[in-house]
């Protein structure tokens, strides 16, 4: 028993080691720059969306192999220069029915899981924290409506200096160029956060790819969207709806903290808000 247990442990250890190597390869700086695919993300929704994306990509790839294979075969095989004589047929009802029905069946098979995820994405009930997000030309405002904390979030100074026309500053030397703000939105981990998204002037769109959240911020209307971040960290996104001159320069940064860190942060924000209120005559 013990020996078996040992060898099983060793096998598991080896497997973990292999996985670790692969993870290192995937995570090494040389590869990190070449992002080819959608991020899996850090929310349950983003994982579901990623799975759907991979599913439909896989189905498309399979169909592509079949269709492109047939096209290439026909191009190679039925060349006049290879002595091909043209056939006379011009229709075939059976095959026409087949290639109408089969795609329809595949589509239904794709629509079902997509609809399930969509229904979950639309369920904004039982949120534990509500933040009102307002898009302005060209900055975001976050309003923790139950806590009286409210602030703007704008592109950080270094990026802003480097992004001027012919600034002479190499963007590669600026950390998180165009993806850094002065004051990020902060949320606790494993908490269902509901965003009330609206626009102050024109339409913007609040997008953080790793949350799989993209919601248009429309003046006069409030859209609801939610996410539950499963991992602590700093996550970045950008405005996704053309909103004028500086549309490319109003990034979104979200810091996901542990519950206690979040509470500390919130307390400091509240007291700061208190102080600034008292300071006013």
């Amino acid at each position: 028993m013990t020996t078996i247990g040992f060898s099983a442990d060793r096998a598991r250890g080896r497997a973990l080691g292999l996985l670790g190597t692969l993870a290192c390869l995937a995570g090494s700086p040389a590869w990190a720059d070449y992002k080819l695919n959608m991020p899996e993300g850090v929310t349950t929704t983003s994982h579901e969306v990623y799975d759907l994306h991979m599913l439909v990509l896989g189905v498309c790839t399979l169909i592509a192999i079949g269709v492109y294979g047939a096209m290439i075969y026909a191009i190679v095989k039925f060349r006049k220069s290879a002595g091909a004589k043209p056939a006379k047929f011009s229709h075939n009802t059976t095959i026409e029915v087949v290639w109408t029905v089969i795609p329809a069946v595949i589509l239904v098979a794709l629509a079902i899981p997509a609809a399930e995820t969509l229904i979950r994405m639309n369920d904004t009930r039982n949120a534990q924290l509500t933040i009102k997000v307002t898009g302005y030309q060209w900055r975001w405002q976050y309003d923790y409506i139950d806590d009286g904390v409210k602030f703007f979030s704008v592109l950080d100074r270094k990026s802003n200096a480097a992004r001027q026309l012919n600034s002479g500053i190499d963007p590669n030397t600026v950390e998180n160029y165009l993806l850094e703000v002065d004051k990020p939105m902060v949320v606790p981990v494993n908490t269902k956060v509901r965003l009330l998204v609206t626009g102050a002037d024109v339409i913007h769109s609040w997008w953080v790819p790793v949350f799989a959240v993209k919601q248009d911020a429309i003046p006069g209307f409030i859209n609801e969207v939610w996410f539950t971040a499963r991992e602590e960290g700093t996550y970045r996104g950008q405005c996704a709806e053309l909103c004028g001159m500086d549309h490319g320069f109003m990034p979104i940064v979200v810091r996901v903290l542990s519950r206690t860190e979040y509470d500390t942060w919130l307390a400091s924000q509240k007291s700061a808000a208190q102080t600034s209120q008292n300071a006013q005559p």
């Binding site: 592509a64 075939n92 026409e96 290639w99 589509l107 012919n166 165009l178 024109v202 429309i218 950008q238």
Partner: protein, 534 residues
């Protein structure tokens, strides 16, 4: 065959038809006052070629700025003007007039009609275009610059446009009127001027696709006209259609725009489907597979295109039921589109294929339009679309259906019918060179944009985070290659118009249809007496 056609065949230059103009003014007047469908077709096609380079130059300015991070050439306002006007010029100034040119030239020849049914209207519908396009392009030099709110013109942003705003709206109105008049003319021509015996289900596919396109134009363009007029009154006459503060809704405009915009996508692609359906059978030496199914598939695509518009708006906060409805209708479009792809492939099957330039473009269309169709299916899956929406993935998707889709259709059609128009064979070697450079660079330009979008690069941004540098560089290099390869196209056309080996009436060994029964070049007047249809 008409006797007129036979008579004029003897002349050195058929366009002249006994009144060859001398001097600049008579020459100009001839083209300004012409009511001949072939002349007007040539005008449309020439205008479209010019706009192709105007819109292309704007695209290259965009790609030059995006070559590396940081702003080097354009300030963000100019950048947004370039993306906006590039799209408007390419959609309304280039691709739509190109297909209108094909329609003018080929529909009367394909159905055995002496001309378009409404020749003066035809002249007017063309001559609106240069003025509309000039108006649009000149806005770039107005105080406040040109429109920079995207070709989709979403309020409230578009209402912030400077002095260019009313000119933009008026230009769109003129372009719309031109399209509506052309559509009316095409419907009336096809419905009334078919030669005896040319029943609807005997019409060539190109004529069929244009008939359906013309109905779509009649349905869609007035909606756009209404939408932009509401923008105009919101800005100048105190209405609040799209202003929440006055009880309106900015998203209403998006519904109106895309109720036009999605049929517009098919207005652009259906005539290309028609051309491909002519080219593939000719060079496969085999009849089109499933002709009737092709007609019905085209009609179903057109119908479905009217009920999918909100799939452009999944992030606007639509109700769940709306999202589900538009996801399903969008996915259903894949069925008739698939039927078309399969039918073209079946046409190749057991044919006898040769690979002249029109066929090469048609085959590239088949491969690359299908690729655009796959990304289209991916975009239909709403949860995934939330991630793709407004990123470079969408840019890659619609450029795949518009460039190797619609534009390759137009290239295939040009090479296919150029000998019929000019009476000369084009330079096949140069044509093939044009094809290979275009086909390679189109993929170098647009394929990496899929990766950029998936990795999180939003569209319509003048500058980006350095993680996106490599694919942007590749895309920009591809774009310049693609742009300069088109100079070969112009050279081939000019060379072919000026001379070359004499083309026969049939031109291509496997060509069938009435247009191949008249001499090459097609005389100024054809089918003055209706041909006999077997």
């Amino acid at each position: 065959m008409s006797t007129t056609a036979f008579d004029t065949h003897g002349h050195g230059h058929d366009h002249a038809h006994g009144h060859k103009p001398t001097g600049l003014v008579p020459w100009l007047l001839r083209w300004v006052t012409t009511t001949n469908h072939k002349d007007i077709g040539t005008l449309y096609l020439s205008f479209s070629l010019l706009m192709f380079f105007v819109g292309g130059a704007m695209a290259l300015m965009v790609r030059a700025e995006l070559f590396q991070p940081g702003l080097q050439f354009l300030n963000p306002v100019r950048f947004n003007q370039m993306t906006t006007v590039h799209a408007l010029v390419m959609v309304f100034g280039m691709i739509m007039p190109a297909f209108a040119g094909f329609a003018n030239w080929m529909i009367p020849l394909q159905i055995g009609a002496p001309d378009m049914a409404l020749p003066r209207l035809n002249n007017w519908s063309f001559w609106l275009l240069p003025f509309a396009a000039t108006l649009l392009i000149l806005t770039l030099f107005l105080p406040g610059g040109g429109p920079a709110g995207g070709w989709t013109m979403y309020p409230p942003l578009i209402l912030q446009t400077g002095d260019a705003f009313p000119f933009l709206i008026f230009a769109v109105h003129l372009l719309g009127v031109s399209s509506i008049l052309a559509a009316i003319n095409i419907i009336v021509t096809i419905m009334n001027l078919r030669a005896p015996g040319m029943t609807l289900l005997k019409m060539p596919m190109f004529t069929w696709t244009w008939l359906i396109t013309a109905y779509l134009l009649l349905l869609a363009m007035p909606v756009l006209a209404g939408g932009v007029t509401m923008l105009l009154t919101d800005r100048f006459f105190g209405t609040s259609f799209f202003s929440a503060a006055g009880g309106g809704d900015p998203v209403l405009f998006q519904h109106i725009f895309w109720f036009f915009g999605h049929p517009e996508v098919y207005i652009i692609i259906l005539p290309a489907f028609g051309i491909i359906s002519e080219v593939i059978p000719t060079f496969s030496r085999k009849p089109l597979f499933g002709y009737a199914a092709m007609v019905y598939a085209t009609a179903s695509i057109a119908f479905l295109s009217l009920v999918v518009w909100a799939h452009h708006m999944f992030t606007t906060g639509m109700p769940l039921a709306g999202q589900l409805f538009f996801m399903l209708t969008t996915m259903i479009i894949a069925v008739p589109t698939g039927v078309k792809i399969f039918n073209w492939t079946a046409t190749l099957w057991k044919g006898s294929l040769t690979f002249e330039t029109p066929m090469l473009f048609a085959l590239a269309f088949l491969f690359l339009f299908t690729l655009g169709g796959f990304s289209g299916l991916m975009l239909a899956i709403v949860p995934a679309d939330i991630q793709y929406q407004d990123t470079y993935f969408v840019v890659a998707h619609f450029h795949y259906v518009l460039v190797p889709g619609a534009l390759f259709g137009a290239f295939a059609g040009t090479y296919y019918w150029l000998p019929k128009w000019t009476g000369h064979m084009y330079d096949e070697k140069l044509g093939k060179l044009h094809f290979w450079l275009t086909a390679i660079f189109v993929n170098v330009t647009f394929f990496p944009q899929h990766f950029l979008g998936l990795a999180g690069m939003p569209r319509r941004i003048p500058d980006y985070s350095p993680q996106f540098t490599d694919f942007n560089m590749i895309s920009s290099i591809g774009a310049f290659g693609l742009g300069f390869a088109q100079l070969i196209f112009v050279y081939v056309i000019i060379k072919c118009a000026r001379g070359g080996p004499k083309a026969t009436a049939q031109v291509w060994e496997g060509a069938h249809g009435l247009e191949w029964t008249v001499p090459s070049p097609a005389p100024h007047h054809t089918f003055s007496e209706p041909p006999e249809i077997k």
